[in-house]
């Protein structure tokens, strides 16, 4: 593993019901929650939205499409100061649900993709970014 500078961006606030998802990411597996009829949803919750049915996890491909994005020239905190703009995007996963992530150049994670290389509707794929020993963040990069 290449030497990376210490990660200073915010890490996810985790509740007990989030553990399975983030543990899988750490093992470089991407799973998404689904309801008792097998319909996937996002974001992870113990009970399915709308019905409060029991939930389980399914493997997801990590393939998706950019629904929309916003290039951030200013981050939410000091940790982003001096960074190039980062592109927050909503990704429509092949399996159906829509999730938020950032778009990155390649599998190395940060820094961000060049804002000129982003379009709504572009195909992307998930990459795993091990930002700390404990946390792996899901990022997306242009597919193919």
């Amino acid at each position: 593993m290449s030497e990376k500078p210490a990660y200073t961006k915010p890490l996810p606030d985790l509740r007990p019901e989030d553990a399975t998802f983030w543990e899988a990411l750490k093992e470089h597996r991407f799973i998404i929650p689904c309801d008792d009829a097998g319909k996937p949803f996002w974001y992870p919750r113990k009970y399915a939205p709308g019905t409060l049915s029991a939930t389980s996890w399914m493997d997801a491909t990590g393939n998706g499409t950019v629904y929309t994005y916003s290039t951030h020239f200013m981050g939410p905190s000091k940790a982003y100061k001096g960074d190039p703009p980062h592109i927050v995007a909503l990704i429509d996963l092949e399996e159906g649900p829509r999730m938020m992530s950032i778009l990155v150049k390649d599998e190395e994670g940060y820094p961000s993709l060049d804002p000129e290389d982003v379009t709504i509707g572009m195909k992307v794929k998930l990459v795993f970014d091990d930002v700390t020993d404990e946390v792996t963040m899901p990022r997306f990069t242009p597919a193919g």
Binding site: P12, W42, S70, I120
Partner: protein
């Protein structure tokens, strides 16, 4: 008036009691570093009471919001204590930018239930000068999911940007349409005595200001300000002997679409969710968008009023940008919008100032020309009788709307 669904009939029954706004007040806005949060609230309460011709002892209900500076979980009663009140009804409302119209609804419900007769609705804060680090953190985190949004560096501006950029893509909206909202409101703010930004800006100047998060430049964004505003809700019977002509609440409505922006199903579903608030308020009032004389529409960003105008039926889907570019939202246009400058040019106090401005418009008191020390001007819409106003909390998540009228509801 169409008969309406049972719940619309219930809302009309309540409002037929002649529930009205009998007094309003607003402080200076901007950077007010010499006054604290509660001090501002007491100051504006005095102004609103004086406007109505009331004394504090005449008020038996209080509805407040929240503070980013004074940490209290009992905001309304903390303020009641500060001002030396013993209210029979109290509530603190906290639904972000939807709070102000919901405060009016809360007051109406309390009056209808006999819990109070005259309710002070007051909100203010020294958000700009006095914010604590925990307040700042709360503000930054308020809009995003702690595990599935915030760690990706989402800002509130960018969250709106996500939706705005999809809206512009679907309807082929030019950047100029967003800038035209700002330019229009800057013309109005130039006339409003307490607006923070008094200079008139052009579409080009808005688009030349620095990028914050696409599609928003710095001038597309709302302000952070200190200040307070208040309105007093009572019944027509009680208002009869007060100083000012009452302005009636003739329509109320709410709409919800999502909390987190990643949960918004589509541009259309967001438009429909927030639009429901305005459409329902107009249905209760028995009017259509074409009947409106003035619109004080929540404007957290330049994009925000565009989708609301469409949701409320003033324009068709994707048509609001062209509508604003044609000058329809200007004073003298088809439906003057944010005649006080709004959150983008006057001050940010949720939708409080939108309500206060609507009341002033319907009383014919939106001419600040006499306020020479503040270089005020005339932003009155001549003969305005019907106004819509709304507030949205979160990223167009939860919306509350009011129809205000210079005349009592027809059933009253």
């Amino acid at each position: 008036m169409a008969e309406g669904t049972p719940d619309v009939k219930e809302a009309r029954r309540m409002l037929a009691k002649g529930i009205c706004i009998a007094g309003v007040g607003e402080t200076e806005q901007g950077i007010i570093s010499d006054r604290g949060s509660f001090e501002l609230l007491a100051e504006v309460t005095k102004t609103a009471l004086d406007d109505a011709g009331l004394e504090l002892k005449d008020v038996d209900g209080i509805v407040t919001a929240f503070s980013f500076v004074e940490s209290t979980l009992m905001h309304s009663t903390t303020l009641a204590d500060y001002m030396g009140m013993k209210p029979g009804y109290f509530a603190s409302v906290a639904v972000g930018g939807a709070t102000a119209p919901l405060m009016a609804v809360q007051a109406a419900l309390a009056i209808d239930a006999g819990l109070a007769e005259t309710v002070l609705c007051v909100r203010g804060d020294n958000t700009r000068s006095g914010i604590s680090s925990s307040g700042m953190l709360a503000m930054a985190r308020e809009m995003s999911h702690g595990a599935y949004e915030a760690p990706f560096g989402l800002t509130t501006i960018g969250g709106y940007g996500l939706l705005a950029q999809r809206y512009m893509y679907e309807h082929d909206i030019p950047q100029e349409a967003l800038a035209a909202v700002v330019a229009t409101q800057s013309e109005h703010a130039a006339l409003k005595w307490n607006a923070m930004l008094r200079d008139v800006v052009t579409v080009e100047e808005v688009m030349e200001s620095r990028w914050i998060a696409t599609p928003f430049h710095a001038l597309d964004c709302s302000l952070v300000s200190d200040g307070a505003a208040a309105f007093i809700v009572t019944t027509a019977a009680r208002a009869k002997n007060m100083k000012k002509k009452p302005v009636y609440i003739t329509g109320i409505g709410e709409g919800f679409s999502h909390q987190y922006i990643s949960q918004a199903a589509s541009v259309a579903s967001v438009r429909d969710g927030l639009g429901r608030a305005g459409r329902r308020a107009m249905e209760v009032a028995g009017i259509t968008a074409q009947d409106l004389d003035v619109a004080e529409i929540y404007d957290s960003f330049s994009f925000t009023p565009l989708i609301a105008l469409e949701g409320f039926g003033v324009c068709g889907p994707g048509e609001a940008g062209a509508w604003v570019l044609e000058g329809n939202a200007k004073l003298g246009g088809k439906l003057p919008m944010n005649t006080h400058g709004g959150l983008i040019r006057q001050a940010h106090l949720g939708a409080m100032h939108h309500i206060v401005e609507a009341v002033l418009q319907l009383r014919g008191e939106a001419d600040d020309s006499a306020k020479t020390e503040f270089n005020g001007g005339n932003h009155q819409v001549p003969g305005a009788k019907l106004a819509i106003t709304n507030g949205s909390g979160g990223i167009l998540a939860a919306t509350s709307a009011l129809v205000l009228s210079s005349e009592p509801p027809s059933a009253a």
